[in-house]
């Protein structure tokens, strides 16, 4: 028998580990702690299906590796993201619901390719919360406060939150007439972004300074404000006006966050998510020692309407509990 066949017989597939009793207990304890935080804040548990129609998931999250078919031959995919599933489920409940404001949470595994440069299929255990019917400004504060409590509880450490507005990215994309900036922004590649600004006629200094301010904002809001005020007169009017509006919305969001959240939150002027349904504020939460953000979320104001016909704001987050094993 070949060595690889013996390996297959005795081991779980790479990326899909068998959790031993110790790891299971840790995950179970941390899940319970997280759930009790969310339940105490009025979130109700839902259990979306493991499989769904591939169109349910955001465009960038469909992977052939996780496809199967139902008895009619229709494609099904293991879930890569739970938010849309929860909204689909909520759309069916909406007519029966007495109050349009509903809060849900889930704890489920999702299936993803987590690497940008090589295939790395993984089963990721997530706890997520969705607040439906609350405006983005009030939902983000509530969600970040519950995420802070959960992260503090399970990682025994205070997170740092980065908060941005996805519209700043779309505005820059529109201004530059390009739709290929996601990698440049995700890698915060300031020299490449500056080149893009130069190519549409910004002068060298403004292009360099704007790209650095958008991607590497200074720590204090005072410093950020003063640099923005220096830069603004040199920018094309429409771009300056839109970025200014987004900036003041972000500053006001930050100002209205619960005190404990505000002190660990930073503005990230140009932030973008891989998932494409976000329409407003987005955020990430980091824990020291974990390579990628353990928490991701934001506001998605079109999804409820898409599935239920009723216009309603909504926001949510997903926290990667598998990150526990990476500390």
């Amino acid at each position: 028998m070949k060595h690889s066949e013996i390996y297959r017989q005795r081991r779980a597939p790479y990326g899909f580990p068998f959790l031993d009793t110790e790891a299971t207990k840790l995950l179970q304890d941390k899940t319970r702690e997280s759930q009790s935080v969310l339940q105490s804040l009025g979130y109700e548990r839902v259990m979306p299906p493991s499989l769904d129609y591939p169109d349910t998931f955001s465009d960038n999250e469909r992977f052939d590796s996780f496809r199967t078919r139902d008895h009619l031959g229709d494609d099904l995919s293991l879930r890569s993201d739970v938010t849309v599933q929860v909204i689909k489920g909520y759309a069916n409940l909406i007519e029966r619901s007495e109050s349009p404001v509903r809060r849900f949470f889930y704890t489920v595994p999702v299936f993803r390719d987590i690497s940008r440069s090589y295939p790395a299929l993984r089963e990721v255990y997530q706890i997520g919360a969705e607040a439906i019917g609350l405006t983005a400004a009030s939902a983000v504060g509530e969600l970040l406060e519950s995420a802070r409590k959960i992260m503090q509880e399970i990682f025994q450490e205070s997170p740092v939150f980065l908060t941005g507005d996805v519209n700043a990215y779309y505005e820059v994309e529109k201004f530059l007439g390009r739709d290929d900036l996601r990698d440049i922004v995700r890698n915060k590649n300031a020299p490449l972004l500056a080149q893009a600004f130069l190519s549409v006629g910004l002068d060298y200094g403004d292009a360099e300074n704007l790209s650095r301010l958008l991607l590497f904002a200074p720590v204090t809001n005072e410093e950020y404000n003063s640099r923005w005020e220096n830069l603004r007169p040199g920018l094309p009017l429409e771009l300056a006006r839109t970025l200014e509006n987004i900036r003041s919305d972000l500053l006001s969001l930050l100002q209205n966050l619960p005190v404990a959240v505000r002190s660990i939150s930073r503005i990230e002027p140009l932030l973008i998510r891989k998932t494409t349904y976000y329409t407003d504020f987005i955020f990430e939460g980091y824990i020291q020692g974990i390579k990628s953000p353990a928490l991701r979320g934001g506001s998605y104001n079109h999804l409820v309407e898409e599935y239920s016909g009723q216009s309603m704001p909504a926001s949510g987050f997903a926290l990667d509990l598998s990150a526990l094993s990476r500390i």
Binding site: N187, A190, P191, F216, Y286, G289, K291, S292
Partner: protein, 208 residues
């Protein structure tokens, strides 16, 4: 006292250029590394620690968080797609990634299957495929210039700074694929947790 900020540099010319450049901007307290073979060098006065490693490893060290910051050529960064942040283009390490062919063999483009020797398979494949060429990559790790002379490739794609090495090996430069200088790179988590120190360094290097 806070943990020193760890900076990974590629051993050789680029680490010399980096430390000299940092010194001129007041970031380090010395302008040269000692001639010892130490691979970890502390600048206690400035709270920095340098790791001198192979250039390709700089990206991995910074990506994995073993170093907070690194200096790396744009060519290596573009080839390997490391998950790191890039705040600043630095004004040294200038070179270009170019196609070169043996002197006089101007008909190399007419071959049905062009064999290309390179250390940069991803950038090379992308460049040729986008232009509709059918190529076979011969991935080598050094002395690329002798590949056409020994018959294992028709052309090469390699870094050129002055062009003297190409000339010495009977090669002509056809076209540049990528212009490169050094880049300051930053670990994404270090950017979140050590933002004040890293911001200060970026500001010093760019004199905002």
């Amino acid at each position: 006292m806070d943990k020193p900020l760890r900076i990974a540099l590629p051993k050789g010319r680029m680490s010399d250029d980096s430390v000299e450049y940092f010194y001129r901007h007041g970031i380090t307290s010395f302008s040269k590394f000692s001639v010892d073979r130490e691979l970890i060098i502390a600048d206690k006065e400035k709270g920095l620690e340098f790791l001198l490693i192979r250039s390709k490893d700089v990206g991995a060290y910074v990506e994995q968080g073993a170093a907070d910051i690194g200096v790396l050529g744009h060519d290596v960064l573009a080839e390997h797609n490391f998950e790191v942040l890039t705040p600043v283009a630095l004004p040294f390490g200038a070179c270009r990634l170019s196609i070169a062919y043996p002197n006089g063999k101007t008909d190399w483009q007419n071959k049905r299957n062009i064999r290309v020797a390179t250390k940069y398979p991803k950038l090379t494949s992308r460049y040729f495929f986008e232009r509709g060429f059918n190529i076979t990559i011969v991935e080598l790790y050094g002395s690329i210039e002798i590949a056409p002379l020994t018959g294992i490739s028709d052309v090469i794609v390699d870094l050129v700074s002055t062009g003297n090495t190409l000339k010495a090996n009977g090669l002509s430069e056809e076209e540049s694929i990528l212009d490169s200088t050094a880049r300051l790179i930053v670990n994404p988590v270090s950017w979140v947790f050590r933002r004040a120190e890293i911001s200060k360094m970026i500001d010093t290097l760019t004199a905002f």
